[in-house]
């Protein structure tokens, strides 16, 4: 489609741009038998299983690191806990591609990764630099500083901070911004509010926020520690549950259901997950809104300024599903029959193009990551989206455009594989 107008980043229909230079090595190059949809769906379940196992392993390491911080609040232990959180994000962000299309994941993930959150629900915030969701009665409840909170007329006893209590406090008062649990709540407890706006710098929570006794800063250090302990325990148990859902050898878990269903349904879920994350979520909600409104409130990992990695590993997850490969946190490579193999059997040109586009989007996201992590002159995501930062906008737009382009080919791949309706079962996302 050639128009005299510059195509918008998020056009509904996407111009397919022919690119060459595919670097993906097909898994099935040595095998004679053609790959079937059932093979591909089964391997998809293997990928999810490996990926969630890694998310669990790294979450356990985070849990242990925060336990050490609580027992012995030193700068070194705070830093170690932050490093463990950053490491845990690497596998988890890659799992997000499983979320769209698999209702069981979508219904579960809010407790782990909901954002943006009104952090004033959890702990102290600097009032004049805190913008919460309009109409959110719980936005300044401050669970840590209170043993009873009142949200929209309802009084809740929060004296004993257990994982169950925190899980029940999610979305209290009917507001999605009331996120009491998950990675971003933990992120806030480790880093604190980022008060640097568009300037370089993340949250700067002092370790003394966890010191009990006279050295405690900002009050209620024991409750803050109790909160951190409960919320990291909950993360681990939530991930344990999801690992079980994908584990082989059970006849009553989600994996068993998925493999018992028509393989076309599985392929549809795979493609739906890739396309939804690529366009609506990553390119749209997580990048375009923040960029066009110059809004660091819409930054994904806003306390730690780790947004570039969240985006990068989201992109990696999309590529993983298409190529059927996943690099585990211990370095092992999981490989098997892929969507790429399926598409190549009937349309090698489309397969080559989509592989090249996935490479291109990883390159664009890689640039975003490299700029953010530059040792000389780091430009974090919240700096890239500052008003008037043309160089930053160009980097973000490059990633958006690459994701938009690959989504067009994902739609074509769906048609190629005979998937008529790219709609979810029941995920509540509009098409």
């Amino acid at each position: 489609m050639k128009t005299p107008f510059r195509p918008a980043p998020l056009a509904l229909t996407v111009a397919a741009v022919l690119t060459v230079g595919c670097t993906h090595t097909p898994w099935s190059k040595d095998t004679a038998a053609p790959v079937t949809k059932a093979d591909v769906v089964e391997h998809y379940a293997d990928l999810a299983y490996a990926n969630y196992q890694d998310a669990l392993t790294t979450a356990r390491a985070l849990d242990e690191a925060t336990d050490r911080l609580i027992a012995n609040p030193t700068d070194a232990n705070l830093e170690a806990a932050k490093q463990a959180w950053l490491a845990a994000r690497v596998p988890y962000q890659q799992t997000e591609v499983f979320r769209f299309g698999n209702t069981i994941v979508d219904d579960w993930e809010g407790q782990l990764n909901a954002w943006p959150l009104d952090e004033g629900l959890i702990d102290y915030v600097k009032a004049d630099d805190y913008q919460h969701e309009l109409g959110n009665a719980g936005a300044t409840a401050n669970i840590i500083a209170n043993t009873r909170i009142n949200v929209g007329g309802e009084t809740i006893d929060v004296s004993n901070l257990t994982p169950e209590l925190l899980a029940n406090l999610n979305e209290i008062g009917g507001s999605e911004a009331n996120v009491a649990t998950g990675y971003h709540a933990i992120e806030f407890l480790l880093w604190g509010q980022d008060l640097h706006g568009f300037e370089l710098g993340a949250g700067e929570r002092p370790v003394s926020d966890y010191v009990t006794g006279a050295g405690c800063t900002h009050g209620h250090c024991d409750r803050r520690a109790q909160y951190l302990d409960a919320v990291t325990d909950l993360l681990v148990s939530d991930l344990e549950w999801m690992v079980d859902q994908w584990a082989p050898g059970h006849d009553d878990n989600y994996r068993a259901q998925l493999l018992a269903a028509d393989a076309n349904d599985g392929v549809q879920k795979m493609l739906f997950g890739m396309g939804s994350l690529s366009l609506g979520e990553l390119a749209g909600e997580r990048m375009k809104v923040a960029l066009e409104a110059n809004s660091y409130e819409d930054e994904h990992d806003c306390f730690s300024d780790n947004t570039h990695n969240s985006h990068y590993y989201n992109g990696q997850g999309i590529q993983n599903v298409y190529t059927g490969s996943y690099r585990r946190v211990d370095g092992r490579l999981v490989e098997g029959p892929s969507l790429s193999d399926l598409v190549r059997q009937t349309n090698p040109e489309l397969d080559a193009r989509l592989n090249a586009q996935l490479e291109a989007s990883m390159k664009a996201l890689g640039l975003l990551k490299a700029k953010a992590e530059s040792s000389q002159a780091p430009m974090r995501f919240d700096m890239m989206i500052a008003p008037g930062n043309a160089a930053g906008a160009k980097i973000v737009n490059g990633a958006i455009m690459a994701l938009v382009e690959q989504t067009g080919s994902i739609e074509q791949a769906a048609q190629e594989l005979g998937i008529e309706a790219l709609s979810p079962d029941d995920a509540g996302h509009s098409f």
């Binding site: 489609m1 128009t3 005299p4 107008f5 510059r6 195509p7 918008a8 980043p9 998020l10 056009a11 509904l12 229909t13 996407v14 769209f100 943006p116 913008q131 919460h132 969701e133 309009l134 109409g135 979305e171 008062g173 009917g174 507001s175 999605e176 911004a177 396309g275 939804s276 690529s278 366009l279 609506g280 979520e281 390119a283 749209g284 909600e285 997580r286 066009e292 409104a293 110059n294 809004s295 409130e297 819409d298 008003p387 008037g388 989504t407 994902i410 739609e411 048609q415 008529e420 309706a421 790219l422 709609s423 509540g428 996302h429 509009s430 098409f431």
Partner: protein
Amino acid sequence: MQRLTRLLLACTWLLASGLAVAGDTTDLDRQARHLWYDGILSGYQALAREAQTFARVAGDYCQAPEQTTLAQVRDAWQRAFLAWQAVRFVDFGPVENDNRAWQFQFWPDPKNLVARKARALLTSGAPVTREQVEQGGVAVQGFPMAEYLLFDDAFGTSDQALPATSSCALLTAVAGHIADNSQQLLADWQAFRPHYLDTAQFRDTTLRAGVAALEILEERRLAQPMGLRGTGKRSVYVADAWRSGRSLAGIEASVRGLHQYFFPGLALLLEHSDQPELGPWIDAQFGEVLEHFPALRQPMAPLLAPEGHFGALQGLYVDLSQLAVLVNDQAAVALGVVRGFNSSDGD
């Protein structure tokens, strides 16, 4: 008399069918694109006109607040805003340039960026310039920012309330930006004509635009504030134009816009499809939705309140959902429109 009307209608129906049978699908599609093109053109013309008026009235008011009243500026804002609602369904073509749709209306805005940006601009001391608005991002540039200045309760009682110099500078700069954008959009749409008419793909693109707009109307603009999806909490803040109490008037304008500018092309295609009965059904359903107005041209917040007349909103919701089912499920399928990923998939 009634019989005569019916007979006349039947004749036009036959005539139209005859015309299309003579041509092929390509001709029919082209005719549909003609109808859509002209409809959207008149919608964009109305927007350009009303936006121009709004900018003029805002300027007059800020120059001589004793001669032009705030009520007049609010009225001009509303006319321009409603003209935008009527063409808001168009999500392709020149409105895609530079995110113009978001420049007109950045929404949803759960974090109240509009107020935050306004505060930042107004507390800097120096009067806001047009350039600051051009550089300020989509939350600064459109109808919601003007609405904040004109209607926000807290702002209206602050010492920066209109016609304070700095607030007036921001208002006129934003109104000027909206007017220029509308003018440019119209000019670009006129230049877009041959390409739109010659490109077969725009049949499906246009149909998808109507489908997506109905979905957004039903789910995001109505069901969400009513608490029928998501967390289940009723909240006027997730509706658009809540500050001015024009959420429902905006819905009406969008439905009218779809009926006026989108439906004729759709009706023509349906008439020659396997399900010709769908066209009149959809037409009638548009009528059902619009029958709720002007009675429902009122602020949404009181209707959402526990003691409010929630049933009135439910009635509108039911009719709007039925319209969405007819267009999005039945008509789109009858016309073989394959839907792809769209930009509002996220959460």
